[in-house]
């Protein structure tokens, strides 16, 4: 995009005009990278749907007939005379009637640099499960807050779920900035507060942006006209530079989806590589049986390949007749996942019945489905960010720690290490509904393990030091074990004086 185009667009944005629709603007076809998956989250009415609508509009992903429908459906427009961009997203009748988002909508747009899949998630607490759905596959979360109200409990809840689901990149959109007179102090205050929250969750990549989703300021085009003091990135600039997660650096994993036997002479194991890479000649283990074999061929429709990496859908041929069936995992000999009958996990309860202690559920992970008994052990208090000492059930939308006990050997990686082989869903055998999304934290060595959740170390540190420490890799990996309190240097001196007598 040329500088003059940006200037023109910025001028349009600031006068609130969207009628100039460049008819011959080339739809962008970038695609030298994989698409970035992101979610928008935040409380009701913070402007999530409006923001995505604006992203689609300003990247020319909205076609003319859709724009016309939008203008027609917008009915009474807002004060600025702009269409209601949220209607591009809220596609269900119930959503339009109630003016809210009920379910996740997936949308697609692209810039010159890359393409994006964005999930617009609902803000209402009762639809938290749909937010978790959107978060499970996202590489980045855009958290919106209304500049007038600042952080809400729902912001904390969503930030927590997003980080739990393994999202490591946050963008804070301080939205509706036009309604607080573009007040810089307000921006600094909210972004500071958010930074603390994100750091406490172990998220270290945080970008805060003052924004008006409605007017399109700092979304695709900059907001210099209204906020000359802000010289940071626009949202799209951040998104273009964000990283797409990849599981290529860990050990090879192939959950077997099906065995292909088109004729007597061919037997191949079909699945999507869930971690690492593989090449002919590699030694592999089949889990849970533990049998060892060597890879002879990687077959795909196009050609017989000499390597496959995480994400590739392949057919693997082994050098000997081994017993492999759907649900087994073929893994590298050198770096194996954990195999066992008991694991610890964190999960989000998604249905109104919650999670019942001792109930036998179906657990599905990769291509494997097996019976499991679930014992909740503690629940996260979303207001304080602290885990309870004990809990027996988990209600809908609760985040909890659980113990999983299996009848047959289960195979997992920790979710931190592998987002595919460490993730699972629980299915209620009575309703067949998906009742939880879970993440493996560790293997349990014995079924009657001692609860160690209470033994957290408390540290009180000056604010700047606390921030630095919380931002380290080491702390984020062990944040279960320590609580950090941020206190001012003066306060610290007082405490020390007290101790010294």
């Amino acid at each position: 995009m040329t500088v003059s185009a940006i200037a023109q667009a910025a001028a349009e944005a600031s006068t609130g005009s969207v009628t100039a629709f460049p008819a011959n603007e080339t739809a962008r076809v970038p695609r030298d990278t994989r698409p970035l998956r992101l979610i928008t989250c935040g409380s009701v009415d913070d402007g999530k749907s409006t923001l995505i609508g604006r992203l689609l509009w300003d990247t020319k992903a909205v076609k003319e007939d859709q724009a016309a429908t939008l203008r027609r459906d917008s009915g009474k427009q807002n004060d600025l005379g702009l269409p209601d961009f949220a209607l591009l997203l809220d596609g269900l009748q119930a959503e339009r009637e109630q003016g809210i988002t009920i379910d996740v909508a997936y949308r697609y747009f692209a810039t010159d640099k890359r393409s994006f899949i964005v999930a617009d998630t609902p803000g209402h607490e009762q639809y938290t499960r749909n937010m978790a759905t959107g978060a499970s596959t996202a590489d980045l979360a855009v958290l919106l807050v209304d500049a007038r109200t600042g952080l809400l409990e729902q912001t904390r809840r969503h930030a927590t779920i997003a980080s739990l689901m393994g999202i490591k990149q946050f963008v804070l959109a301080v939205n509706k900035f036009d309604l607080v007179g573009y007040d810089r102090a307000r921006f600094d205050q909210i972004s500071h507060e958010f930074r603390e929250l994100a750091l406490s969750l172990g998220v270290r990549q945080i970008t805060a942006i003052p924004m008006s989703a409605l007017k399109g300021e700092n979304v695709v085009y900059d907001g210099k006209a209204s906020m000359p003091w802000y010289d940071g990135q626009t949202l799209v600039e951040v998104l273009e530079l964000a990283t797409v997660r990849s599981a290529q650096t860990v050990g090879f994993r192939l959950p077997v989806q099906r065995v292909s036997r088109p004729g007597e002479s061919f037997r191949g194991y079909q699945g999507t590589v869930a971690g690492g890479s593989v090449k002919p000649g590699d030694s592999v283990v089949i889990l849970p049986s533990g049998m060892v074999a060597n890879v002879t061929k990687i077959v795909t429709f196009d050609l017989v390949r000499n390597a496959a990496v995480a994400g590739d859908a392949i057919t693997l041929v082994l050098d000997r007749q081994v017993d492999v069936s759907r649900g087994d995992m073929i893994v590298s000999l050198e770096s194996k996942p954990q195999t066992g009958l008991a694991f610890d996990a964190q999960l989000v309860a998604l249905q109104s019945d919650g999670i019942q202690p001792g109930k036998r559920y179906w657990l599905k992970s990769g291509s494997r489905r097996q019976r499991v008994t679930v014992e909740p052990s503690s629940q996260l208090d979303l207001k304080s960010g602290k885990w309870s000492h004990h809990t027996e059930t988990l209600a809908m939308n609760a985040i909890g720690k659980v113990h999983l006990a299996f009848d047959e050997q289960a195979v997992f990686d920790a979710y931190e290490q592998n987002r595919t082989t460490g993730a699972f869903i629980l299915i209620d055998p009575d309703t067949n509904n998906t009742v939880a999304g879970g993440m493996i934290t560790a293997k349990r060595s014995s079924l009657s393990g001692i609860h160690t959740e209470d033994s957290r170390v408390l540290l009180s540190l000056p604010a700047d030091l606390a921030d630095q420490l919380m931002a380290t890799e080491l702390f984020s990996a062990r944040r279960e074990e320590a609580d950090i309190r941020r206190i001012s240097a003066g306060k610290a001196a007082e405490v020390l004086d007290g101790i010294d007598g």
Binding site: N24, A27, V29, P30, R31, D32, T33, P35, K63, E64, G91, L92, Q93, A94, R96, I102, D103, V104, A105, Y106, R107, Y108, S115, I117, R129, N130, T137, Q257, R258, S260, R261, P262, F266, R267, G268, Q270, G271, T272, T296, K297, T300, D302, V304, G311, D312, A313, T315, D319, R320, R326, K364, S365, G366, S367, A423, I425, I427, N432, T434, G437
Partner: protein
Amino acid sequence: MPSTLPETELHNPQTTKTPLDPHLKALENEAIHIFREVAAEFDKPVMLYSVGKDSSVLLHLARKAFYPGRVPFPLLHVNTGWKFSEMIAFRDETVKKYDLDFIEHINPRGTAENVTPFSHGSALFTDIMKTEGLRQALDAGGFDAAFGGARRDEEASRAKERIYSFRTPEHRWDPRAQRPELWNIYNGMIRKGESVRAFPLSNWTEVDIWRYIQVEDIPLVPLYYAKERPYVERDGMMILAEDPRLELLPGEKVQHGSIRFRTLGDFPLTGAIPSQATNLEEVIAELEIATVSERQGRAIDRDQSGSMEKKKREGYF
């Protein structure tokens, strides 16, 4: 046991075609994963095949997913009796070329009650011949999973749909009570009579489809390419005038021009666009400057916002 590839490999073109870029590769991998998962989890899957470009991509991906084996489920074409003749010719050729199991279903009410798009109007016609026809065919075959080529970027209610879209025994979709779908772990547990519609192309856009067709060299019905063709203008649509059942209304006359179709369906309900794009490169070039969405040519979605959701609740794809 040293494995050798079966004969089919010999027929597989080991061409030096351009490799897929990471974006299309990711979409292809995801679609193959979904195909394999459904084929493994369900007793009796079927693939809805509408002969259009999305169906052509879907079929290509299915062949890739199960290679070197055959596609392990039949294709189902819910015909209305009003398709473009070139579609039917292409369909029959494709079924033969790839050795596919194929089922065609036409709702018998069509001929019995003489249901036509002209006499019944597009909405009722679609309801009877497509929605009801589909239900009949799925029930008759006892299918518990049906692949479809729908994409989330097509329409606002589609954007909300899961990859495994649960249907009641009456084939109803309840958009307010969809199962959460986390990661790429799909819940395929259903009771007898219930079914799932599975959408491997959910995350593809129209541009992705065209670029994939180009890179993979996927054959399409020639109607997608511009050619001098006869047409009449009706309700602001350019309707192909070659089927004798199209009766001219007062004031209408057959015109000739270079036209093509962005989407294919029933010829009386599908509008053409004026175009000079006679090959794929030109179609893509036109597409990239197109400012109108592809569904605009379809009478079915234009009635009102939310009309697709309504149809889907009743069992339409």
